[in-house]
Symmetry: C2
């Protein structure tokens, strides 16, 4: 199939206005009479809420509303409950606080300073409770319990996923070699540059309006409808541009607080979190992954047992989903006949962990891709060959029962290996030692599939796409314009996002912008909408040409009778004629996720990996990345430049997590929750050589063969670096980040062993 | 046909928020960084623009933009031209000014005071031109010409409509009696309580947004698109509630000035006119109607010749349409075999006259209904009988060729007559003399027919109507909710206007809210949309019940198998099931005005009249209204209370025009353009007895038989009062308003004759 617009690296349609500083973000929006909301947060990781007295705060001039548990009486108009998977959370703390930063009260005032002053006037009495700081400790008998009223929670475990195939005992008996190790990852944070913020107001019709930088406008609408006990359609969520999200801006974060304050104050209220608060709002799951892998001498994988303990913090958030996704791919992209994996989402007294690019997969990929290299090394097999030997291939059955499709692993691995000349070892024996490593990953995109789109013909023959996919830097507007243009047979410039940002009053339903699902799910919806519109245009052309629609051809924005290309009509001419005849909307609709689509069960597999070359300073323990090659199977790259940008950005987050990032807690208190103390990768930390490899194994159900790829690089990075460190200095580090201290400590232990 | 919701006088859905003061109008809307626009207006009625220097104004601190003809160079980005029927008007004056108040320049500044100060710094040099102050003078040879570059304009005439039937000469030859009179009406003003105002801004996508109290959101969009030379879809018009309009808020009034200032200042700009400016922005056409009527002795009308000269002011505005409408009904609601009418829209150096409730008909109705009574009196026939004898009836052919339908004149006239006991004459010979009069009217609603609507099922089983019909006090939101509820078979409370006000991004196309067209045109669109949605719901119910849609019944918001009413599903259950299955919009669409609808040519005739009893003080000339009965044929009154309110309000405007209102000019200068000096009817001027008569002759193409009626009462009021004055004191006054001075003068002339 030959494409005209798909496959072209056109410049992003939102590029110019972002470069010019004209693109608006939530923080740019101000309203007449707008108040500023600030939040009182718990200073204790675990405590009973004995007393809360807001009377002094409420009396402070300039304060319009003070919110506390007293605003949620048993039969009041508002429901305090929220929560993605279980209603474990409340708008403000009702009975106790479960982590430092837990929301205790909130104030809306004329300015931030007054609001802050009011917060200081709120009198709260706490009774401290025993701290639960670690998932393995949390599940032990006798541990303090975070919840005692939720039937879903037992022994601080709020979710368990099991994966089973074959006979695990038999598998290990048949194995020639068995590895058993524990891998850990710390709490990390999404570190989107734009902090959470939302502006909420009730209009004169009693409708709730919220401008917010969310990835899930329809999800936010639904959750707010539950709190306000009103029909979803009475709520309008508008999403300006977003300065990064990476999963952290899914579902309610500050929207409900702004909305309830606006309801109480009867004024617009904006809440803009400070960076310290962002660190306490949502994080990445710390994890303990115990993995036992059995293989034959020739490298054939036979058995695996895995236990995943994911620290989901004080509330479940979407930890259950994260653990579910991670556990289901504990076998990696490999055939393992006997497997048993058990994943647990465990509650502790830390900020809630939720969605973060990779969605639980990076934690388990560190384990399975370290094991692949450890096996290769022990069995003397090339790291690529041992992987290729075991790869799941087109048509294979995954342990979940899903059939593999569009999985270009072998091509990807060989290209990654070639890009760093993996076999080409250069032993260097000085202070700075070099090593190479590779890793791949698998992630199932079994997300909520539903997306609806509208494509409209404008009066000048151009087209507008109406979609609730959120542009948060990934380029979704550009990709949707290309998909619509391709389907309509016009240049991409003829397709504009006139409807601008997602707006639940204007743009149809979309489940969410996450899980790398937009190109696939919304892409299909947009393509179907464009097709629907094209058919309407052909039908209209057939009417005015008095010819059968079947005899018409569509090409280059023209509709003409086969063999008479010079006659016919341009889209512009048709639009003008249509609106002259009747001023009726001329648009097509497309929906993805109906019963037929659902039969495919899983939209697609994320297929990716990376290869690195590092230099380890044996005196300081510092690991320097010399080269990183990240790659993914795009199915079909709608816009190769954007795909490369996604893969490179994804890998950069992986670099941070592998080498630098850890949100640390001492006695439940975060100690480095600022950008001064929490270190993100800078340009000095990314390698000078940073190419991207794109593989294209078309997906039969993807729009023009495309599928998502934005989480394909990150999960492999820590393991690839671990493998490269081992290659360089012979130490196997199973805990990220690979800080100089940790590397040095490993080196000294290795030396002491000999 | 039995209705459940249609025909009920439910309370208006916008009532509570208006009473509570919660409903928002354009003036309530403020934006961060908003500037205030003010307009420099011509002090001369006719002058050349020699020089305009804005440099000093532009330098004033706080001024962000000064707009003058220099902003519209030949090949600049903006087109200066606007105009409803011809592009005779410009955003600001380019070559000359054509009336006092004509727009010369505009300023946007931080506040109104600064903007006003800047206006004073604009240096303009004018060269005065001869004044054209009167339409009959304007068309005389040698008169000064307002335009010399427009081919449509000759001798200051910008439009001529002719109506011809039969042989006018023959008709007068066959007549036993011939009347020939001249009737005049002065300039009046719409006097909507909310002045024109608009708030415009460009957003970060380069789209133009305008919040404005307009009756024609899509018309404003189209005209702004022409000025900014951009596709209509890049412009968004939002309409909050409107505090009265009466035709004055059709098409561009201040929107273009706010928009161009916003474009130049790169900031939001609001323009809020002062009352004096409103008087100079648009008015009602002053008129001279020469009418010659011939009849047989038995009262049978035989011939009519009419010449209508309508003073349309300095620019055509929609004067051509007004004159067209007026001329076409110069025969009134009567059979006249021989007729010739010529209507002229004439340009003079007065503010532009445009649409005003009645749309040219009140001017001509004064003539033809005075003539009917003059004939009755001369021939000794009862005023009702002479009318009934000549009435156009169902199936008759109107001189325009259109067939009469839904014209309940006889019932209406007899009910009006009975209500004031027209025959029951009480001769009183004192100082205060009483008299009674009656009049009727006809108006063709041959307006632009197209309207589109969407009706959406919400997640709780309620419904939302999306319509661009503008709520300006008339109750259109309520009527549309009733129509949708009736068609869906639910209580009206289940239908809400969740989409709120018209918004060209949200609510589909509607030609305009004027010409009493909404109940008919938009009502049909809403009904069709509701039907479309109901069919979708039935289809869905059939699917889940595994039954044929034909076997299902819809009643009381439930869909069930015939004979099994207790089973089935409520709309709420269906909505919940639908959105559980797929989160796809569940809505119906309806369009009115396609080819099939257009075949009916004329949607409907406005049929109305009124009867009055007056008391004339022969010493002071004061006319006191003792009783006024106004009536109309509603087709079917969707909401009788709202219909009565419309008819009563309409008649009240008629009272003002008959007795009080005249915008006066001396040497082209308005002398009473304020609410201090221009007298509107107060509660003292409306009669204590003020009942309404509704007739219902169902219209075959109207929704549930309904049609418009909001302009049916006004046109008859002046003639009815003229007829009553004659009945009381025996003088025939042919010029409104019937001020005490005028009545007294007529009385003294009558006495001097004897």
């Amino acid at each position: 199939m030959e494409f005209k617009t798909v496959g072209q690296s056109i410049w992003r349609v939102d590029g110019e206005k972002k470069v010019r500083g004209e693109a608006l973000y939530t923080i740019d929006l101000k309203m007449e009479g707008m108040l500023h909301g600030r939040i009182l947060r718990s200073p204790f990781p675990h405590a009973k809420l004995i007393k809360i007295d807001t009377s002094a705060a409420a009396k402070l001039p300039g304060v319009f509303a003070v919110l506390s548990r007293e605003d949620f009486p048993q039969d009041g108009p508002l429901s305090p409950y929220l929560g993605r998977r279980m209603k474990d959370k409340t708008v403000v703390a009702m009975d106790k606080v479960r982590h430092v930063g837990d929301v205790v009260a909130a104030v809306a005032a004329v300015d931030v300073e007054t609001a802050d002053a009011a917060l200081r006037l709120i009198d709260v009495e706490y009774e401290e409770l025993p701290l639960v700081s670690d998932p393995l400790e949390a599940i032990r008998e006798g541990a303090a319990q975070l919840f005692d009223h939720l039937p879903e929670v037992k022994n601080n475990i709020c979710h368990h996923t099991g994966l089973k195939q074959g006979d695990i005992e038999k598998g290990f008996q048949e194995s020639d070699i068995i590895l058993e190790d524990t891998f850990t990852t710390p709490v990390a944070q999404q570190c989107h540059l734009e902090a959470h913020n939302a502006l909420a107001w009730f209009d004169s019709s009693g409708r709730l309006n919220v401008q917010t930088g969310t990835q899930t406008p329809y999800g936010v609408r639904k959750s707010l409808a539950e709190i306000f006990q009103m029909v979803e359609e009475k709520i309008r969520i508008m999403v300006p541009y977003i300065g990064g999200a990476y999963g952290a801006k899914s579902h309610l974060k500050v929207e409900h607080l702004a909305a309830v304050l606006a309801w109480k104050a009867q004024r617009p209220v904006r809440i803009q979190l400070r960076r310290e608060e962002v660190f306490l709002t949502v994080t990445k799951h710390a994890s303990v992954v115990k993995m036992k892998t059995g293989a034959k001498k020739d490298g054939t994988l036979v058995a695996r047992k895995a236990e995943l303990y994911y620290d989901t913090g004080g509330f479940a958030e979407n930890g259950p989903n994260v653990v579910h996704k991670a556990t289901l791919t504990a076998s990696g992209p490999y055939r393992i006949p006997h497997i048993q994996a058990d994943g647990y989402a465990v509650l502790t007294n830390k900020p809630s962990a939720g969605a973060f690019r990779g969605y639980g997969v990076p934690q388990v990929a560190l384990a399975y891709e370290s094991h692949m290299d450890m096996l290769a090394q022990r069995l003397g097999i090339d790291p690529i060959e041992i992987r290729v030997k075991n790869l799941l291939r087109e048509g294979d059955r995954h342990p979940t029962g899903i059939t593999m499709h569009s999985v270009g692993y072998e091509e990807l691995l060989r290209k990654l290996g070639a890009a760093i000349r993996l076999g080409d070892k250069k032993r260097n024996r000085g202070k700075a030692r070099r090593g190479k490593g590779i890793a791949c990953m698998i992630k199932a995109s079994n997300t909520e599939a539903q997306s609806e789109a509208k494509v409209q013909a404008n009066r000048d023959g151009t087209f507008a796409v109406f979609s609730s996919s959120v542009e948060m830097g990934q380029g979704v507007e550009t990709v949707m314009a290309q998909i619509a243009a391709e389907e309509l047979g016009v240049a991409w410039k003829a397709v504009s996002f006139i409807a601008q940002r997602p707006d639940t009053d204007l743009t149809p339903f979309d489940a969410m912008t996450s899980a790398s699902r937009s190109t696939f799910c919304m892409g299909n919806a947009v393509r179907r909408a464009a097709k629907d519109l094209r058919e309407k245009l052909v039908q209209f052309a057939a009417e005015i040409m008095e010819i059968s629609p079947q005899d018409l051809r569509v090409e280059n924005g023209r509709i003409f009778a086969a063999g008479a290309e010079h006659k016919g009509y341009s889209y512009k001419e048709l639009a003008v004629l249509h609106f002259k005849r009747r001023e009726r909307e001329l648009a097509g609709n497309g929906f993805y996720g109906d019963e037929e689509d659902a039969k495919t069960v899983l939209p697609f597999w994320l297929v990716g990996g990376c290869a690195v070359e590092v230099e380890v300073d044996t005196e300081t323990g510092a690991v320097k990345l010399l080269k990183l090659v990240a790659g993914a199977d795009a199915g079909k790259a709608i816009n190769p430049r954007l795909c490369e940008g996604q893969v490179r950005g994804d890998a950069t987050i992986g670099i941070g997590q592998a080498l630098l990032e850890e949100l640390k807690f001492v006695d439940g208190q975060p100690v480095n929750a600022t950008f001064l103390h929490y270190t993100l990768p800078s340009f000095q930390d990314v390698p000078d050589e940073f190419p991207v490899v794109l593989v294209e194994q078309p997906h039969k159900n993807g729009p023009f063969g495309a599928k998502g790829l934005a989480e394909s690089a990150l999960p492999g990075v820590p393991a690839a670096i671990a493998n490269a460190i081992y290659d360089a200095v012979g130490v196997r580090i199973k805990d990220i980040p690979f800080t100089p201290e940790r590397v040095l400590s490993a080196l000294s232990q290795k030396e002491s062993k000999f």
